[in-house]
């Protein structure tokens, strides 16, 4: 990959919170800038470059104009990384797809101003539904330490891998009280770890914002949720927040 990889950041439908997590690295941003050449990053600098070794894409794809732009970025990038859950799975912007009428969604959110032209979007797509994605950095928001690991490993020519174990592992290592014990419903047993169990560590149940492990045991989860008297609708609503396929065999 030559001396210093050229790295760029782009955003689509998202809150830009994942890029903010990178800006939040503060002094480590300087180390990052020494390791790689940041050529485009709207949140912290101005400038453009013709091509990129690594393009980090935040956000979901919701318009034709986005689709053209992401295809153009792809054609000029060696490695394209989906940064954060909106890019990985559609994330929060994908929630609107659950509603059969996008007009109703707009009316719900914007009231009588719903017809403004810039609100015109199609059903949300994850980045990999439009272009080839090489690597996924999930989470809402991303874990910025994991982001640094990805950058280091790509720079060293190592293929970065995500943990394929549930959040329960990280809770156990931190000796957290299990939220099931405290009468709460937590998606930790299904959810992909890598966040250092940040929510359960602060008493907040996991919502699987990083998606699930490769083979989540949804049937077992279904049994537990039923044991705690949650209705199927409540279960689906909870599991669906981050676009995790809620289908369970009944």
């Amino acid at each position: 990959m030559g001396a210093k990889p050229k790295v760029a950041f782009f955003d689509f439908a998202s809150c830009e919170g994942c890029q903010l997590q990178i800006a939040n690295l503060e002094e480590e941003v300087i180390g990052l800038a020494e390791l790689v050449d940041i050529v485009e990053f709207r949140e912290i600098l101005t400038g453009k470059a013709p091509e990129y070794d690594i393009a980090f894409i935040e956000g979901a794809i919701t318009r034709d104009v986005d689709e053209k732009k992401i295809k153009d970025i792809r054609s000029r990038s060696k490695v394209l990384v989906a940064l954060g859950q909106c890019a990985v799975s559609g994330g929060i912007p994908r929630l609107k797809n659950n509603n059969p009428s996008l007009d109703n969604v707009k009316k719900m959110v914007y009231g009588d101003k719903y017809n403004m032209p810039h609100l015109d979007t199609y059903p949300t797509k994850a980045v990999n539904e439009v272009v080839k994605v090489d690597l996924y950095l999930p989470g809402c928001p991303i874990n910025n330490k994991e982001f640094l690991r990805f950058v280091k490993e790509i720079s060293l020519g190592i293929m970065p891998k995500l943990p394929n174990y549930p959040v329960c592992v990280e809770c156990k290592l931190k000796e957290n009280e299990c939220l099931f014990d405290l009468g709460q419903i937590c998606l930790g047993p299904l959810a992909r770890a890598g966040c250092d169990a940040i929510c359960p560590s602060n008493g907040v149940p996991c919502e699987a914002c990083r998606g699930t492990v490769d083979n989540p045991n949804k049937n077992a989860m279904h049994e537990i949720l039923e044991k705690y008297n949650y209705t199927v609708e409540e279960i689906k609503r909870k599991i669906n927040i981050f676009g995790v396929d809620p289908e369970v065999k009944k």
Binding site: G31, K152, P166, C168, E175, V213, N217
Partner: protein, 340 residues
């Protein structure tokens, strides 16, 4: 074995003095929300002697969840330096089943190639054990243990109400109590024995432990593995909280500068899906049932055959921590007995 006694008030003053004066870290059981955990004591006020079970066993002090083994410079193969952070520590109030677990851990880490990272930490520790004073629904230690605890304890405490009877098990223990108000024991053997056995276990292992290796082999094809495996999240909770599980993963981490790196080992476990994945991607325990069976075979056959001691100490942590309530050995063996 010398047997002394100390009043509970004097024992607490003794511990407070240790916290204040010693070059040794004093570790005890503290409250963590509605549960208990081992932690460094800042004051004896935080020390809980009346607890049911801690979330993690004391192994976290000897095999930390994440431990640096060595430092290196990625571009210089000869640059590595071993790192072994091992303070002097004293653990106070360790239940007998957790002491018994260290008996197994010591064997695992000293058998063949001696693991200095673990063994140095153990050598630098003083273990003040005790008999539990609180009931724990999932505990079945009495039905699986003999006297292993005494091979690890330096001191054993028995709660007699206002006093502790103090059994001085080792020379290290003898030195540790120096300076405390430990006096001649006035309790009879019968009274002490009653106090040791005051807290009963509701659960018992349903198969005699001597027969379990053979029993498991006979039941290698039993439906329990698939039936329970189907309910398993592969979340690893059972093995991570287990006091006799010691499996780990080793990996390298480098600083952002790419100039300095560390080799770390972290807890791993056979119930996690990728535990048995090889370099070429093949997973030789791909199915949940196979992993579920493997764990029981480790505890009930592999470890007993290697170390002549049943691989489970009956603490009940796995059963308690399992969201699907399938991990407890008592439950597994009962299901096998009921479905012959």
């Amino acid at each position: 074995m010398e047997v002394l006694k100390i009043s509970k008030d004097d024992f607490r003053s003794f511990v407070q003095k240790k916290i204040e004066n010693s070059d040794q870290r004093t570790i005890g059981v503290v409250k963590k929300g509605s549960h208990f955990a081992y932690a460094d004591l800042e004051s004896v006020e935080d020390m809980q002697m009346d607890y049911n079970v801690t979330m993690l066993p004391p192994k976290k002090y000897f095999q930390p969840p994440k431990e640096i083994l060595l430092k290196f410079k990625p571009k210089d193969a000869s640059s590595y330096v071993a790192v072994n952070q091992c303070d002097k520590i004293a653990l106070i109030g360790v239940h007998y089943y957790d002491l018994a677990s260290l008996f197994l851990m010591d064997k695992a880490f000293s058998d063949g190639e001696r693991d200095e990272h673990y063994m140095k930490k153990r050598e630098n520790s003083v273990m003040v054990g005790m008999y539990p004073t609180k009931y724990f629904k999932y505990r079945f230690a009495k039905s699986v243990l003999r006297d292993q605890a005494y091979k690890v304890a330096d001191i054993m405490l028995v709660d007699m109400g206002d006093d502790y009877v103090v059994e001085v098990v080792s020379e290290k223990g003898r030195e540790y109590i120096d300076g405390g108000n430990f006096v001649e024991n006035k309790y009879s053997l019968l009274e002490i024995d009653e106090a040791k056995n005051k807290i009963k276990d509701d659960q018992r292992i349903p198969v005699p432990i001597e027969l379990i290796p053979e029993y498991l082999v006979k039941n290698h094809g039993h439906k329990v593995w698939e039936d329970f495996g189907n309910k398993c999240f592969s979340c690893g909770s059972c093995v991570l909280v287990c006091p006799t599980c010691y499996c780990f993963d080793v990996s390298e981490e480098v600083e952002l500068s790419l100039q300095n790196g560390t080799r770390v080992r972290t807890w791993d476990g056979c119930m996690l899906e990728d535990f048995a994945v090889c370099g070429d991607g093949h997973n030789f325990r791909k199915e949940k049932g196979a992993r579920f069976r493997h764990r029981m075979f480790r505890k009930g056959k592999g470890l007993p055959e290697k170390f002549h001691s049943f691989g489970c100490v009956g603490c009940g942590r796995c059963a308690y921590s399992c969201a699907s309530d399938i991990a407890g050995p008592v439950k597994i063996l009962k299901y096998m007995e009921d479905n012959k």
